[in-house]
């Protein structure tokens, strides 16, 4: 017969780290499926290779015993899927594998594993390959190519440590303009062509090389937010701030700057806002901080896109936001109950009547009795006596 002693609380809510991460993976499944439908075999291979490389790296590092967590907590799977979704579908597979290894090893394990990483691991991986393979990462292929389920984009199967073959020739053979492979953002930045709303939202037209469908990502994000596996404030703040900034600039000069709708739905902004910036470990925990963090990322995204040499700015904006997170948290600590302005106001209206029954009568009017003296002779002095509290 044994009795066990534990500390309260003795019951526990069902949600665990695995549950949260698993739901994020599930919610990414429709996005991945549509991505494969858009780009065919290359996209499928890219998703698989990058994810497997992330999982293998995680497993290997966990086995050294230097960090907690494991591949069973699904966090490495999320990193892999997001990384693959943020890369061009025809990205050479060996480079994708490198990106996965870097993401987990440098972006996560170096800091101590799950929960300790300062930067979003997927974006660390992407930033690495962006610097290492600038040519390959800028090469997109158009979506809905005929025969995409029978052959891969030639650049996918590049041998390790080799540079990919030029996709332009392959596209020419398919009677396609080499520029069909440009992203909407690159087209706008370098040629001044604005994409239409329907092309951006669903990416069903097939004339452009857009990433995973923003509309689908938004739907999946709403599911996550509704089930409270993700905080709705961060995407709301990012999209709000990016939209507002873009709209202001558009209002100032509508020739030079594109409309805010184009800003929001082109490139990786939606994917970044819904899935990348909301990474729990790298975003603030304070509710006010989430708004500040989101607003900062939104602003930085627009600034980088408009004024830098790069067509895309979401990745760097989020990484900068990650870096600012500890500072944001520090200045946005929540005000505790009883210390808000509301409570300080209440201190002044002492003895006032409150909303439930306004007909307050003073107790002298009611003829109530006041206990005047203590009922024990050896009473302690008022100052010494402890105040009663719960």
């Amino acid at each position: 017969m044994s009795i066990e002693i534990r500390s309260a609380p003795h019951i526990k809510a069902p949600k665990s780290v695995e549950t949260i991460m698993r739901h994020v993976v599930w919610s990414l499944m429709p996005v991945c499926a549509f991505f494969v439908f858009q780009y065919g075999l290359s996209a499928l291979a890219s998703l698989m290779v990058v994810t497997v490389s992330c999982l293998a790296t995680e497993r290997l590092i966990v086995r050294t015993g230097t960090q907690s967590g494991d591949i069973s907590d699904y966090s490495a799977a999320i990193t892999g899927l997001l990384l693959a979704l943020s890369l061009p579908p025809g990205f050479p597979l060996w480079m994708g594998a490198v990106a996965g290894i870097v993401a987990i090893a440098l972006g996560k394990a170096l800091f101590g594993g799950i929960g300790f990483n300062v930067f979003n691991p997927a974006l660390v991986g992407r930033a690495f390959v962006q610097a290492a393979f600038p040519q390959a990462i800028a090469t997109y292929t158009p979506s809905f190519l005929p025969g995409r389920f029978h052959e891969m984009v030639p650049s996918s199967m590049t041998l390790p440590l080799m540079q990919p073959a030029a996709v332009a020739d392959w596209l020419k053979a398919k009677h396609l303009d080499a520029l069909a492979g440009a992203t909407p953002l690159a087209k706008w930045k370098f040629e001044g062509i604005l994409a239409n709303a329907d092309e951006l939202l669903t990416s069903l037209s097939g004339h452009m090389a857009v990433g995973p469908s923003p509309a689908l990502i938004l739907v999946c994000g709403i599911y996550l937010a509704a089930r409270r596996f993700m905080d709705w404030r961060i995407p709301a703040a990012i999209l709000g701030s990016a939209g507002l900034t873009a709209w202001l600039l558009f209002a100032l000069n509508d020739v030079r700057y594109p409309n805010p709708f184009f800003m929001l739905f082109s490139g990786g902004l939606i994917l970044g806002a819904v899935y990348m910036a909301t990474d729990m470990a790298t975003s603030p925990v304070t509710p006010k901080g989430m708004w500040v963090y989101g607003a900062l990322i939104g602003l930085l995204t627009v600034v980088i896109r408009y004024y830098s040499g790069l067509p895309e700015g979401v990745m760097y904006a989020i990484l900068l936001g990650n870096a600012a997170t500890p500072l944001i948290e520090k200045i946005t600590q929540p005000t505790p109950f009883g210390k808000t302005a509301f409570a300080l106001l209440g201190r002044q209206k002492k003895g006032a009547s409150y909303s439930l029954h306004p007909g307050y009568i003073s107790r002298e009017d009611a003829g109530a009795v006041t206990p005047r003296k203590r009922f024990l002779s050896n009473k302690p002095k008022r100052d010494e006596r402890k105040k009663p509290n719960e």
Binding site: I3, I5, S7, H10, G112, G338, Y354, T370
Partner: protein, 463 residues
């Protein structure tokens, strides 16, 4: 965020909704329990000086007779829960682990549960002072669990003025239904107790706050108020209302209840009395309504015995000092083993503490005895503990608006001073919401308890 919680119709911000698990006992009438062979009355059951025994070993005592007395204003006397012989005065197992000074009384076989001590008292004309003195004589403490002496709570400081008495009928802890049953079955006593408390404090209105999962209790209290109004003399003390508040944990905290009822935020570091309000538990006031006119002491209380390991869960009227072993035998709890029960909780599952031994007696502050089965515990143990992933669930659930995530990380680094100075650790009242929701399975509340204890010791050392 304030606006958002207003639209959601919530009582106070944040908080959690654990499964209530009250169905098993909510509809069962309070049953009386027989006397155990011996009862153990620990001398220290509340804050203040420990009362000193006024009986000696071998002395015969009758039920209701004072057996320990004190002259400290913050302490209360104890009364013999059974008629019998004082067998032993000395150390016995206490709920927290260390043995505590207790009086052990062997019950006479066939001792009656009739209270044999005390004179009926005419409370109709009693003044506030007389009522406070009478409350002190009953040895009453808050029966909700905090066990703070009731007369001290009802004493209004000279410079303050009390206009409202709030009666706490929330019982937000899962499993517990003792206050619920008391409101349903002893509503008239409750109204009587409320009238005494109003006279003692000088309050002119009373609001009984009841969570909306206990509508029958609200109806019973309303009916009792109606009866008292129509009775001879009515309720001359003022108006009494029973109100529903949305169900949410930890509504039973007085600050949260006042927020739910009036929308007032008690400033940090001050008591409801600074805003002219006094909060008391329904069980306490119902017991006062019973004991004061009869001039008796507190010798028994209603205890919820429940949990997945109990065959006959219910609400039992238990003589104080009854060992938990006896209580569990009566309620049909299976013998403890690996697979059927391993943890005994005194109080509710969110804030109650695990009993260190089965010889621990029921004291004045024990509102429930819960048996948690091994299977449930094993499922919890199977869960891994992860590092904090900063999901912000705890920040979203802390009713006091603290940041348990950062506090937990500071506690892990032993930065206790920083926790107290910059992160408002002192505001934490250990409701357990953060640990309850934590997906990483981090024992946040336990870390905060340790931190607070260390800070308290540091403060003492400084003096």
């Amino acid at each position: 965020m304030k606006l958002l919680s207003y639209f959601r119709g919530e009582a106070f911000q944040r908080g959690v909704h654990p499964p209530s698990s009250k169905e098993a006992t909510a509809d069962l009438r309070i049953r009386r329990l027989p006397f155990p062979a011996t009862v153990v009355v620990p001398l220290s059951q509340h804050i203040g000086k420990v009362p000193r025994p006024i009986v000696r070993v071998g002395q015969e005592v009758v039920r209701g007779q004072p057996i320990a007395r004190t002259d400290d204003w913050l302490s209360v006397p104890h009364h013999a829960p059974v008629t019998g012989v004082v067998e032993f005065i000395g150390l016995r197992p206490g709920a927290r682990g260390p043995w505590v000074e207790s009086i052990v009384i062997r019950a006479h076989p066939g001792a009656t549960q009739e209270d044999l001590w005390g004179q009926p008292r005419d409370m109709g004309a009693a003044t506030g002072e007389e009522i406070l003195q009478a409350i002190w004589d009953t040895g009453m403490v808050g029966l909700g669990g905090a066990a703070f002496p009731t007369h001290a709570k009802l004493t209004v400081p000279k410079q303050a003025k009390v206009h409202t008495l709030v009666v706490n009928g929330c019982e937000c802890e899962p499993y517990l239904t003792c206050d619920h049953r008391v409101m349903v079955e002893q509503a008239d006593d409750l109204v009587t107790g409320i009238r005494y408390a109003m006279r003692a404090t000088g309050a002119v209105r009373t609001i009984v706050g009841i969570e909306d999962n206990k509508r029958d209790a609200r109806d019973a209290v309303r009916a009792a108020i109606e009866r008292a109004m129509k009775g001879p003399g009515g309720i001359p003390e003022g108006e009494v209302h029973a109100e529903l508040v949305p169900t949410k944990y930890p509504q039973g905290s007085e600050k949260m209840l006042l927020m739910a009822l009036f929308g007032v935020e008690i400033p940090a570091g001050s008591l409801p009395v600074s805003l002219g309000m006094v909060v008391n538990n329904v069980g306490t006031l119902a017991a006062l309504g019973q004991l004061l006119p009869r001039g008796r002491g507190l010798t028994e209380r209603v205890v919820t015995v429940a949990g997945p390991g109990v065959a006959r869960p219910g609400n039992y009227l238990v003589p104080l000092g009854t060992p938990i072993r006896f209580l569990l035998e009566q309620a049909g709890a299976p013998p403890l083993g690996l697979n059927n029960g391993r943890e005994i909780i005194l109080g509710g599952p969110m804030m109650g503490q695990a009993a260190a031994s089965l010889d621990v007696p029921v004291t004045k502050g024990v509102s429930g005895v819960l048996v948690m089965p091994g299977a449930e515990l094993l499922a919890r143990e199977g869960r891994k503990t992860y590092p904090c992933i900063k999901c912000a669930e705890c920040v979203e659930s802390c009713p006091m608006g603290l940041n348990p995530s950062t506090l937990g990380m500071l506690a892990a680094k032993r930065e206790y001073d920083l926790m107290g100075s910059d992160y408002h650790l002192g505001e934490c009242f250990e409701c357990g919401c953060c640990s309850y929701v934590c997906p990483s399975n981090i024992p946040l509340v336990q870390q905060f308890r340790v931190a607070k204890q260390i800070l308290r010791e540091k403060a003492v050392a400084k003096q």
